[in-house]
Symmetry: none
Subunit: 194 residues, 4 copies
DNA sequence: AATGAATGAGCATTCATTCAT
DNA sequence: CATGAATGAATGCTCATTCAT
């Protein structure tokens, strides 16, 4: 349908502009120009500039969450699941630098509305890792004293900082699959009972 | 000296205001009020608003770098050095939430000048970790195939995300010393030759 | 005919919306919604937003003028005519608060086009009073030195301000028939030769 | 003092611009230009555009109220007081056409804040007339059955409509002193006990 | 050095109007 | 005739920065 198409065009333009300039330095009129719509048209699809950013996260994070859940659902070994999760995250980031930039840069914005937003969709993403850890602990594979929420933060933090490294550099810093295995294994060495 | 005193007052006010509102939502006049100086006075000590943020990082990061270098200089075991590094980072963050907020939130801003800035002082901080890894590899304690820069990113990313967790929550999520050991050991399990 | 029906619906919706929000705070889309037509449809019947207001006056004032002329045409005594005029004005205002609001609030708008408009249809209404005065003077009933146009303004101003009083208040301030007699007589005392 | 001076300059510029264009067609930047200040300066003295209009009324109405109270305070005969009130109103209007235009045109605006405003300062003006009527009734000079608030509206409405007449016309329509006496007497004929 | 009143460039948002369907 | 999605000109307001005192 036409409307849906414009909605996508605006979000894509916004992703690019936000990635290039940062949210606060981005101009709505610039997004409109890149989306090939008039300034006013944006306000038919979004309540305001903030709403564009929120919608962008909502859409993209949902996509990422759906895709990673799909990819790990047939894996039984929690160790392999974690490596797959890392691999998926870095692969997406590598294939969509704008997205990576927006997630890293703007997920940190501290508006109240953003903080609340994070407490909803971002946590769903973190919980995927935490759930894998819990599962591994129940299966007696992972050490019991490690708190899943802390581990999830540690793993996500590593991946996110590596993404920054990837995005910030103009030249290629590392092979994502190789590093995903490295990060996964690094933690697994700490996680797995000896 | 008088001037030095005002400079400090402005930076402290800025740290607080930036932490509360975020850089872009902070007003120079608000910083001036909190610092008990006139708006114009700020421009006697800083070139512009951006310069306040840059100077803030410069000062704070230098302090952190100096303090952590001091703390690890008498430790010989690279494994202990890494744990000490983690412990130091999380302890500082816990004792100065405003600083933590500013580092996490604003270090991600994507102005070009910020990017360049990061490539200077922030890298000095990362290099402390990378150097420890290199040292450990030279001593034959750490595995050789791990790239020190990648490892440094992974460790910093973990610590930084844990800081966010610490700062974002109103209630205490974890004991920083305990977690510092955990993070350090987690990586060490992966780093150390078996 | 269909078109005539929509024209009426739009004017009625406009009267209500203008009365509620004032001309400048009214949105064409709001009028369209209340009239149960599409935004664009309005432009099939009116040149622009201004034209809606002008047409509204035109229609309503013409109605009022026609009705009052009908009511006073069989009265011969100019004193009774004036009282009837007052009674008619206040009765209409009381029965159609939206109309009253629009006349009072918007008749005062000072666009050039409005000024010109007033100089055409509004004057026709004032002239009804002025003509009665002139008639009374010719018949030797009213004092000769009073200028009919001034008297017409005085009488209309009184009625209009009383209408404001009526419309602004939530509770009933006075009985319109009683006050019409009062206003009429008040002037007549001044008008009539002793 | 300087600040007070700028405040006056802005209000005077606003009075002129509002009178020329009407409130909604007036641009803040136009007021700024006429006041010989920068756009932003206006917001040092006024909260927003609405606040300029409100302050304008506040100042001007207070001035009018003060001046008329002063003028009638030594008059004992309520009949003379009313004539003096009318004379004062029309004289002010004649000497400050911009003020007259703003009062008439914009006092009718129907924003909620305006309605509330009217219920405070405008009523103080009306009450001056109502008090005179009450006084006259207590002294046994005016008829008892006339309600002072209704009479006040009638008299103000007459004066206001005559002001419109005065302001709208380019040529002089009447002598204000003569008409003031006429309006006053007109009502007095109705008011005074025979 | 310190002040803070003044500046004015810059931008998000609104909404009357159009026109392809 | 009717629609309503799309347009884009227009403007109130903010706030970093300046500079006369």
């Amino acid at each position: 349908m036409r409307g849906e198409e414009k909605y996508r065009m605006i979000l894509n333009a916004a992703k690019h502009v936000f990635a290039m300039e940062g949210f606060y330095n981005s101009k709505v009129s610039e997004i409109a120009r890149e989306a090939h719509v008039a300034d006013g048209t944006i306000y038919l699809y979004f309540k305001n500039k903030d709403d564009i950013l929120i919608s962008l996260f909502e859409e993209e994070l949902n996509g990422i969450i759906t895709s990673v859940k799909e990819k790990i659902k047939d894996i039984t070994d929690p160790r392999e699941k974690i490596i797959k999760f890392c691999d998926n995250h870095l692969t997406i980031v590598e294939s969509d630098r704008d997205l990576a930039e927006v997630i890293q840069v703007e997920l940190r914005q501290s508006n109240k509305f953003m903080r609340e937003y994070k407490n909803k969709h971002f946590l769903a993403y973190l919980n995927i890792i935490a759930d894998i850890i819990s599962q591994g602990q129940e299966e007696g594979i992972f050490r019991d004293h490690l708190k899943p929420d802390i581990c999830a933060r540690v793993i996500f933090g590593s991946l996110d900082e590596l993404s920054t490294y990837l995005v910030t550099s103009r030249r290629k810093r590392f092979d994502v699959h190789e590093v995903a295995v490295l990060v996964g294994n690094s933690f697994l060495d700490g996680l797995v009972k000896k």
